[in-house]
Each structure stands twice: as C-alpha cells, then as structure tokens.
C-alpha cells in the first residue's frame, strides 16, 4: 500500500518495453503494406462466381435460380434470368444469369449466399484491397467482374475446392452412368430422368466446409 502496486505495474511495463524488442509473442504488430499475413483458408470477404473451363460465359455454374438473391440478408444481389437455356456441366439445359450484380458496398460478407447455393456457383473471395474512388460504380460488381475460374477458387480455398470438385466429379459420373443406362431406354424418357436427377444432384455429404447442400430440393 505504499506504492508497491505502482512499482509492480512499472516493472510490468518495463518488461513489456524490453520484451517487445525480443519477443515476437509480445510485438504482434504487422506493418501492413510491406508485411502481409497470408489469409486463412476460411477467410471470406466478398462473393464471386465460379466458372469451369476456359470460357467464363459457357462455364459459369450459376443457373440463375435466384435463391441467393432471396436469402441475401442485406439484399445486395441482383439477378436477371436468361430467356434461353444452355447446358451445364452435366449437360442438362439450364438458365443462366443475364445479369448478376453484387453491390459490395452493401454486402456484409456473411457467406449466406454460398451456403444456400445448390450449384456451388458462388464462393467467397479473399481479396480485400478493393478500395476505389468511385463510390457508386466502382463498388457495384457485374458479371464480368464477378466471374472467376475454378482454378482461382482452388488456389484460395484448396480444401473446400477439392471437396467441391470431388462432389461434382461424382455427380458427373452418376449423370454419365444415368445417360448410359438411358440409351437402352427411350431417348426422351432418359433425358427427362437425367434432368430430374441432376436437379438434386448437389452434394449430400454432411460436413460441408464451404457449402451446405440444399436439402429441400431432394425432397
């Protein structure tokens, strides 16, 4: 009670003063522009759209089902469905987005769009240095800006991408098998069957590190 508490405190700050020169445990500061910490694999910033293959327009996984648009809590996604259809990766004809825009000034990086997407089409990016001088146009990302190849997704989220790829390969195999058996049957019926199956073809595995299957479509 005679100042020893103060002295104890002074000793503590002195220990930290000297400790910060020697111990990385104490000096946690990172000098940002020069020094960077690699983002964690789970890190999420803003969503992007995954496409397979080279041509982004053809390989876009999104089928414009508009589930993410409905579920997005801050309503920052806008989708305009196409009139025509194009085949998806298993060959089933699907709609595709004419417009797909995300206002990332509104987006709150909650990842719900990723969770609800039954087609593994939307994923979270890890790029965060997105500041721009143009507040209105610059933060409104359109389809061209959003579409990124699967290779990029594999690069930023290797574990999640591997799971997704495996699941999709499985589906593709299933669809091919289906198509094979279908050749014996009537062509039209086979095509129909494949279409219905493909609709719920989304993964069913319980643990979903990046995405959650859409249960509803199975029922």
């Amino acid at each position: 009670m005679f100042g020893e508490g103060i002295l104890k405190g002074l000793a503590e700050t002195a220990r930290n003063f000297f400790g910060s020169f020697v111990s990385a445990e104490r000096l946690t500061t990172v000098e940002y522009p020069e020094q960077r910490i690699a983002p964690f694999e789970a890190a999420r910033v803003f969503p992007f759209l995954v496409y397979d293959g080279e041509d982004w327009l053809a390989g876009l996984r999104c089928v414009a089902c508009q589930i993410c648009e409905k579920e997005c809590p801050p309503q920052c996604i806008f989708i305009e469905k196409s009139k025509d259809k194009k085949p998806d990766f298993v060959g089933k004809p699907q709609s595709y987005p004419m417009r797909f825009e995300i206002d990332i000034s509104v987006c709150m990086s909650c990842q719900i769009c990723v969770e609800v997407c039954p087609f593994e089409a939307i994923k979270m990016d890890t790029a965060f240095e997105l500041s721009t001088g143009d507040r209105f146009g610059g933060l409104l990302l359109n389809l061209t800006q959003l579409a990124k190849p699967n290779a990029y997704y594999r690069q930023i989220h290797p574990t999640g991408a591997a799971e997704v790829d495996a699941r999709m390969a499985e589906e593709m195999a299933k669809a091919e098998a289906k198509a094979k058996t279908a050749t014996d049957a009537a062509a039209k019926a086979a095509a129909d069957a494949a279409a219905t199956k493909a609709a719920d073809a989304t993964p069913a595995a319980g643990d979903a590190s990046q995405s959650r299957p859409d249960e509803e479509s199975r029922r």
């Binding site: 009670m1 100042g3 020893e4 508490g5 103060i6 104890k8 405190g9 000793a11 503590e12 700050t13 930290n16 445990e25 104490r26 946690t28 964690f40 694999e41 789970a42 890190a43 999420r44 589930i67 579920e71 997005c72 809590p73 709150m108 990086s109 909650c110 990842q111 719900i112 969770e115 609800v116 979270m124 069913a204 595995a205 319980g206 643990d207 979903a208 590190s209 990046q210 959650r212 299957p213 859409d214 249960e215 509803e216």
Partner: protein
C-alpha cells in the same frame, strides 16, 4: 425548461382518437408517483438561480463507448442529474429480423454486440432451437462452449482495457488486451472466416467443423492465456491509484441490481451468485467444473476484479472443453436452414453473454419469417441504474462507472 411545465402541457392534451403517429410523445407523468422500494434516488434539484453546469457528454465525447450521450448536470464537479440518451445507432434490428427469414437474421446478430458475435449467434440459435425443438450434436455443443468462452475472455480483457483507458492510462492495458484478443480473433478467423462478424452458429449446430489442427492451435493459445491474466493482475490489481479510483465508486446494492434486471459481471460484482451458465445449464455447461466469482461491495473495482476472475474461470472451462471434445458431426445433415418454417408458437432463449443475460424472444406464426423477433440486450438494461450509481460522484467517476458497465452501443441501440 422545467419538467413540470412540459408535463402539465402534455396532460392537457386529449389522447382522443389516436391513430399511429398522432399520439403525444410524453405521457402523463404524475409527479407524486411513488415507486415502491426501488425508487430512483431523489434528485437534488438545481437551485433556482441556475448554478448548475449542464454538460452533454457525448455523442462524440472521447469516453463514451460509441455514440452514446449522457446529459449531466453538475454542481461543481458533483453529478446532480444524469440522463442517458440513446438511439444514435438505432437500426431497428428487431424490425429487420421480422422482415427476413430465420437464417438471414443470423449475420445480423453478429452486429449487436460486435465484440461478442459468437455469443450472440449462440443466443439466437438457442432461441430458434427452443422454438423448433431441435437437438444439437455433441461436438457442436463443445465448439459452441469453446467459442463462447474465448469470446468471453477477449471481451472481458478488452472491457477492462477500456475501463483503465478511461482512467487515463494511455491505453497500455487496452493494448495488452488487444494483443491477446488478436490471437483469439485469429482463431475465430481460421475457423469461421471472419474475425468479428463470425456468423458461425446455425440452429441445430455449427456451420463448419473445426479441424484437428485448429483445436491444437486453440489448445496452445489457451495454455498461454493464464500468463496474460497474471500480467494484467500484476499491472493493475494492486495499483494504488486504480484502487483509490475504483473502490467505493458506483456502488450498486444487490437488491437494486436484481430488481433493475442487471445481469452478468455487474450483478455478480454486487454479490448475487446468478450465472445463467449455472442456473439454466444451457448447452453442456453443467459438464464443466468452474466457479462463479462474486464481488462484495458492488463497486467499480469489484466489477473489474470479477471480470478478471471470470477470465480465469473461462480458461478453466476452455481447458476442459478442449480436452473432452468428442468426434462427430457438427450439424444434423437433415436439418434445413433455407425455407425453415417452425410451427406456430413462441420461445424465449437466453444465455450468459459476456455482458449479461442475452435473450432472444421469438414468436412464429408458421411462416418463414419470425412474427416477432426480440432481443433482450444486456447492455441496455444494465444502464437502467446508471444514474443511480453516478449521483453524487464527480464527472471523472461518471466516466469510470459507465465504463464499468461495459456497454456496446450496437447492442444498446440495436
């Protein structure tokens, strides 16, 4: 403008035929109204000649946590009247919750008490689970406990830091707290993808599983936490200046604390042994052995020390949980999140959040959106007795007392 004037004016109006929007804003407030027992202390009203200094502390005063205002009337430096003013951060969270699906509300709960997003997640998930009668897998329960206790630890550490900061310690304890918090936030980011807005828990489990590597890292970090608490204790607990400033300041009697709905460390600092982790035993808290520290005087120092001791107990829980965590799924795969429509009914679920009792009250009408979505914010309700604690103290103590309540304006205003 004196108060009686406005009341008589308001009383003169006829509240006839009101439709929404036409109602007088100040209701009749009979001056003779007697509150039994729990009367707010009699305000020594200002002398007629206006000797009082009226200071508006906030909404951008350096010591208010966020945009919060206290209208303080001072006689010299002594507080004669104090009125908290809220709403600068009001986003009508509850209205938002009623306008969207159960799942979509989850990320919004992160933004209530942005220091403890995982606790908020849990409270909301708990309420929905009660409403829909869902079970949570074992592993998910453990993960929830681990994350909630890490959240509690970092919240208490930084709240102590802010408290001492308000005492003028140029941020040193705050920086130490942030240094430690940084490590915990790293864990959060690695698991949930975000540092503060985690959006991790789901009704019926958790979003993703924790990898063994993450658990190992968490164990290592938790093992280092007691050292940090020791450092804090050496730096602060016996500091004479801190003791002189905090002891005997802002005393809250236990009876008033209970009656005013004060919860969390504030309540326990007043000597009331009420911890929802023990009382409700929600989740799997009854499996862990931990103690509930109690204060005796109910002053700022007790609140500070109770938080410090609770950090130690949190570490204890964390060690047990990280040791015993079983393997298994973190979420029942059959549960659906999208288009989730619980049966009509209502439920009130509450947890012991770091700041106190955080409750969610949900009414379902069978639709995809909750009919009523209510948050019981501990920060707001703990402020009920702010004036009672501050009267008669000096301005410097007001800052200290409001710091010891530990509020986050995101939660107060919602």
């Amino acid at each position: 403008m004196s108060e009686s004037q406005s009341h008589s004016a308001a009383a003169g109006e006829n509240p006839e035929g009101r439709k929404p929007g036409s109602q007088n804003l100040v209701s009749q407030r009979p001056e003779s109204q007697k509150l039994e027992g729990w009367n707010r202390p009699a305000r020594t009203e200002p002398e007629a000649d206006g000797q009082l200094l009226e200071v508006s502390m906030g909404p951008h005063h350096p010591s208010t946590h966020g945009v919060f205002r206290m209208d303080v009337a001072l006689d010299g430096e002594r507080v004669i009247r104090l009125r908290p003013v809220f709403g600068y951060l009001h986003r009508n969270h509850e209205k938002l919750g009623e306008g969207q699906s159960y799942l979509s509300s989850m990320p919004y709960t992160d933004r209530l008490d942005y220091f403890c997003s995982l606790s908020n997640n849990w409270a909301y998930a708990l309420a929905v689970e009660k409403l829909a009668g869902q079970q949570v897998p074992e592993r998910a329960e453990y993960l929830r406990v681990i994350l909630a206790e890490l959240t509690r630890f970092q919240n208490h550490a930084s709240s102590i830091g802010f408290l001492i900061q308000e005492m003028g310690a140029s941020g040193t304890p705050l920086m130490y707290a942030f240094r430690e918090r940084e490590k915990i936030l790293d864990l959060f980011e690695e698991l949930t993808g975000a540092r503060m807005m985690c959006n991790y828990m789901r009704f019926g489990g958790c979003r993703v599983d924790a990898s063994p590597a993450w658990l190992e890292k968490a164990r290592a970090r938790v093992a280092a936490l007691p050292g940090f608490v020791d450092e804090f204790e050496r730096l602060l607990a016996t500091n004479e200046i801190l003791m002189a400033r905090c002891q005997g300041v802002g005393i809250l009697r236990p009876e008033l604390a209970v009656n005013a709905g004060v919860t969390g460390p504030m309540l326990r600092a007043s000597g009331v042994g009420y911890d929802i982790r023990k009382v409700d035993g929600y989740g799997i808290y009854n499996r862990f052995s931990f103690r509930v520290p109690l204060g005796e005087h109910g002053d700022v120092y007790d609140r500070f020390m109770v938080r410090l001791l609770e950090m130690r107990e949190s570490v204890k829980i964390l060690e047990q949980a990280l040791k015993e965590i079983p393997a298994g799924p973190v979420m029942d795969p059959r549960l659906k999140l999208r288009n989730f429509r619980p049966k009509p009914g209502e439920a009130y679920g509450r947890i012991e959040a770091p700041k106190g009792e955080l409750g969610f009250y949900l009414i379902s009408d069978g639709g995809p959106n909750p009919y009523r979505y209510r948050v019981r914010p501990p920060s707001l309700i703990n402020l009920t007795i702010l004036e009672d604690m501050c009267l008669g103290h000096s301005v410097a103590d007001v800052v200290l007392i409001s710091g010891s309540v530990d509020i986050v304006l995101g939660e107060v205003d919602r």
